[in-house]
Amino acid sequence: MLTAFAILIDGLVYAAYLFIVAIGLTLIFGVMKILNVAHGSFYTFGAYGAATAVGIYFDRGLPDAGGFLLMVLFAMILGLALGLILERGVMRLVYGRDEVVMVLVTYAAFLILEDVVILVWGPGSYATYQPLLAAGNMEVGELILSNYDLGLIVVAALLAAASYWALKFTRYGMLLTAVIFDRETAAAFGINVRVVYTVTFVIGAMLGALGGAIMAPKIAVTLGIGVEVIVLAFAVVAIGGMGSIEGALVGALIVGICRAAAVHLVPQVELFVIYGVMALVLMIRPYGLFVRAQPRKI
């Protein structure tokens, strides 16, 4: 029973992390049909930005709440700038090319940005544990849970609700839905698809950076953190169905719970259980769980 509860909590925490990382990726894919490898860079920049913010703010005796705010703000601004530069400077040049070519363009951007990180922040690693300490712990039964982890679940849930609301009930969200369904028809109806692309890419970048910022206190912010995140986010998005927000949520939950179960019950399979689940889902539903069937073009 205790194990089951621990699996549930760990799974939810991990799922929250995965969802926050994956939502930006799935949004960009849904609208622009770009599998964005540079999402790992957004994550990295967000994490480094948050580490910088924490370094500036904490240990000065200021109220903790401001520190959390500054962390997120710093990362979001970095994401905004990075997304804008990448979309306006690079992606714009390759719209309309093959999907796979666009993956490679983002891969190139990822490689370049990996070294930009070294140029800006240096090769050393940053410890960003202060927010984790500031949040404190909580005892539930025999388990000691970090409030920060529980906060992560709340943030992910809020993000899911907010994106649902934004897509279904705001003007921009409805435009976005139209573009997701059919770009050409949407353009024919007078939607400025270029602007939608730019805004989507920037939002996706900011979400990626947010993921990095939120995770920064839980990991050592060091070189190469983006590399693993990319494939993890890919797996989640592929399971849920690429481009689907609810898919990302369900995918994150499935992967999170499966991984937590593996960690607690059979630790040997921890590393590949995620990809095992992904392969299994894709075998049964090739396009993921939540995706409309595509008509065949003859």
Binding site: E99, L104, L111, L113, P123, A238, P286
Partner: protein, 316 residues
């Protein structure tokens, strides 16, 4: 390759083989790795022509390498030719089995599923303590039909072996690309339903391509394992697959030879970048990739084709 192309390729091969007598050791070992990786790229080109891009090709590379390392360790077989053939066969077998599933997928979904498989292998290898976990383990020193060279001689022998395997593979793949099944690759990419209507089984065509690229990937990995003398799970990580796709883009899928030229260019750029700008080598690679995609969408190979065109157009 037309008749002229064959002559050019053979003379390039002879020049490359003769170069072993004059070039310094480090260039020889760089070229050995580059040509071994070129085999994997050749496999990617076979699929690329049918519109498929695998982000998990490193799996076959890794299987070939581990097969060589394990067989050397367990059975004591040290013959390089046998080891390479076994490595290729293991990877080919896996690609045959996995192919029943993969052949049903296209585009980005194909890329993702192959990525998943390679990451599963990575996870298994990292968690297998008896195979050295993340450190991997070393590979035995190979012999060549009873001949057991050392140091520089081993280097040259391996280089020649790689060249021989590459030459045979290039010739066979070139024949395949010219055959009916190979020629149907481009129609499959353009519109596979029409190919089905013509009475061809697209999934069988693609399955064949998967096995070919798996075989080539396995042999490339086997040769790389012998050349480096060490295997580790990173051979199956997605960044390794990314590099192979990178080289494919750099080379272009125009001809068989471009795989090896592209691989050599890539390995040289990487070595130089790594030596000159250790902090910025990824940036340099990324820029090269970006510029290639933007300005040479058909790859380096298209430069040669374009030059030939101009010459032909200029002739009276």
């Amino acid at each position: 390759m037309a008749h002229g192309g064959r002559i050019a390729a053979s003379s390039a091969l002879l020049a490359a083989a003769a170069a072993a007598f004059v070039l310094p050791d480090w260039i020889i070992s760089l070229a050995t790795i580059a040509f071994a990786n070129g085999l994997v790229v050749l496999g990617l080109i076979v699929m690329w022509r049918a519109g498929l891009v695998s982000f998990g090709q490193a799996m076959y590379y890794c299987i070939g390498a581990y097969a060589v390392a394990l067989i050397g360790r367990w059975t004591g077989v040290t013959d390089a030719v046998a080891l390479v053939l076994i490595g290729g066969a293991c990877a080919g077998l896996v690609s045959f089995v996995v192919g029943f599933l993969l052949a049903r997928y296209r585009e980005i979904f194909f890329a993702m599923l192959s990525l998943a498989f390679s990451m599963i292998l990575y996870g298994v290898l990292v968690k297998t303590e008896s195979l050295g976990s993340t450190d991997g383990f070393s590979v035995i020193v190979p012999t060549f039909l009873g001949y057991a060279p050392h140091q520089e001689k081993l280097l040259v022998a391996l280089y020649w072996l790689v060249l021989a395997v590459c030459a045979i593979a290039a010739l066979l793949v070139d024949m395949y690309l010219r055959s009916l099944a190979g020629a149907l690759a481009i129609p499959v990419r353009d519109n596979e339903i029409r190919v089905e209507f013509l009475g061809m089984s697209v999934s069988r065509l693609i399955h064949t391509k998967l096995v070919i690229s798996g075989l080539l990937g396995g042999m490339g990995g086997a040769l790389a394992a012998l050349a480096v003398g060490h295997v580790d799970p990173n051979m199956s990580y997605w960044t390794t697959s990314g590099e192979f796709v990178f080289i494919t883009i750099l080379a272009g899928a125009g001809s068989v030879g471009s795989a090896f030229v592209g691989s050599l260019v890539f390995e040289s750029v990487r070595s130089f970048a790594f030596a000159m700008l250790p902090q910025l080598w990824q940036m340099l690679l990324g820029s090269v990739l970006l510029l290639t995609i933007l300005f040479l969408p058909q790859g380096l190979g298209s430069l040669i084709v374009r030059l030939g065109w101009r010459r032909n157009a200029g002739a009276p």
